[in-house]
Symmetry: C2
Subunit: 326 residues, 2 copies
């Protein structure tokens, strides 16, 4: 039986992953035991798990306890989000950088205590925030990481740490840079990216949505279902194929907001589109202008990572998976 | 009067810098007070300084004390070298990564305690070890950092930390990736790169030198004099011109070992060249094969950084500056 640990197992993607593992196993292997860790869990429709641990990653006793579980596969999805890392410098660096290093040290200690036999697969969710403008039209696999946020710097640093601890053989890590995950179920949040989901989700639920940016804005998307696919694929990947470069940008759909809206129109008609209200917000427009718009993910595709081919498919995933429970 | 602190002030480049500051001031400004910090200092021909502090950067009380000096310009040259970082994982990460973060936190505390008025210029020596093969023919300014050593990962991480702490306005930092500094004065050391200097230095001193790699090996060099020029130029640079990308690769001379040897022949004749003995070493050849060979440093050149134009000039710097004292 393989032990699976999901750090950040109470979040949206963590719960989707845990539901998937409960229903389908890990890459077809049903002989797994899933432990979740997070600061809290949803009350409704909670995903199945052998154990749900609660705590904070900045507590060294907690990361040591998580490492001592000696999980075979560890998904690390937990982070202080971009906006909060920008406003709370101490909290962002403590959680997104220092606790990652502490946890890697804990895993190395377990590796050494096992005489080198315990080498966990660590799947770490990085972010396209590791990149900073100016960008080429498509960001390729050899483009530099020059982040323009604390969050992006913390993720880029974590990638480098995981790369080196893996190179030394203490863990077997991979860091995957997820596109913006869209359409997020649930409520709007305060993230600057929230509207990318909102302009699809709210109209599909018969509610009005605010569009704070021009519809010419282009961005990089994948569905929550693709996120789960990325994570499980990374867990099963032969990491020798990474040839020592253990961080990679993942496939997605590059489209403009206008193209998103046309996909909504095709799925739900003009009445749905009429629920989108343009209300320009200079602050959000400025933030979003600095974000990556398109990628050439040749390496990830060659390694078998797959996302949707169109935004229509992304809308369909929401309608199939989340709209019934909304 | 400006306070200048050189962390790593007892090393070869630190001493060259301190000698330069003593003789010429900092970019022409003689009204400076220089404090050195290192684990130790040379006994012979020691550079002038107002104070020579001794200690270890992994001691948090020491980094706090250094930050409390509130130096206007801080040169950070100290590191566990590449080879030792590879063999002593704990020591390398503690010194080259964790102590950098601790020191940045100390500087941030001084910044906040000063009500934001204390914003030191930090000039940090990074390394071309932040890059890992495979490389393009020339590594450009937008090529990814994918290090293949712990040392390279620690330097790349320090660059990201310095970039973010600077972006937030707590310090005004710049990280410069030095070429291999050649011809190093003094004795051969155990570094894999030692022979690049040895095959020039030893014959110029009438001694035999060992060449452990094929003479077709190409590498990236600058003189100790250029290193001092890089550091002082970085100290005086208008960092707004970096446009938020505060790490950069510096100019150098790309040449093969055969071209190095021809430069020696032009400077000192066939008798000097005859002192080089080919003695292939498979281990060193393998390490060196993974190193960068050439760069396109358009950005650094546009910012006014200058190195030698030929290896002949690099040989001449050694003959002028160091041979008389050898």
């Amino acid at each position: 039986m393989r032990k699976v640990l999901i750090i950040g197992g109470g979040g949206m993607v963590g719960q989707k992953l845990a539901h998937h593992l409960g229903a389908h196993g890990l890459n077809g292997d049903a002989d797994i035991e899933v432990t979740l860790f997070d600061v809290g869990y949803p009350e409704r429709n909670a995903a199945p798990a052998a154990a749900r641990l609660t705590g904070n990653l900045t507590d060294p006793a907690m990361t040591a306890r998580l490492a001592a579980l000696r999980a075979d596969v560890i998904f690390h999805l937990a982070a202080i989000v971009s906006g909060e890392s920008e406003t709370d410098f101490d909290k962002g660096w403590a959680t997104n950088m220092m606790s990652v290093w502490t946890f890697l040290e804990d895993l190395r200690r377990e590796n050494m205590a096992s005489g080198g036999t315990y080498v966990p697969r660590l799947v770490f969710t990085s972010s396209i925030a590791v990149f900073g403008d100016p960008y080429p039209d498509k960001i390729g696999d050899e483009f530099l990481c020059a982040p323009r946020t604390s969050y992006g710097a913390q993720k880029a640093i974590s990638e480098l740490m995981i790369g080196d601890v893996s190179r030394k053989g203490f863990i077997d890590g991979i860091a995957i840079r997820l596109p913006t995950i869209c359409v997020r179920p649930g409520k709007a949040n305060l993230a600057a990216s929230s509207f990318f989901s909102g302009i699809i989700r709210e109209p599909l639920n018969g509610k009005q949505a605010i569009l704070p940016v021009p519809d010419t804005v282009r961005h990089w998307h994948a569905s929550p279902r693709s996120a789960v696919g990325f994570l499980t694929h990374a867990a099963g990947l032969d990491t020798a194929r990474l040839e020592g470069r253990r961080a990679l940008s993942l496939p997605g759909v590059s489209c403009t907001v206008a193209e998103q809206i046309e996909a909504l129109r095709r799925a739900a008609g003009n009445d749905a589109v009429a629920l989108i209200r343009q209300q320009p917000d200079a602050a959000i427009t400025k933030i979003v202008a600095g974000w990556p718009r398109d990628f050439d993910t040749a390496r990830a595709r060659a390694l078998g990572f797959r996302a949707e081919d169109s935004f229509d498919q992304i809308v369909k995933v929401y309608i199939d998976e989340d709209l019934p429970n909304a």
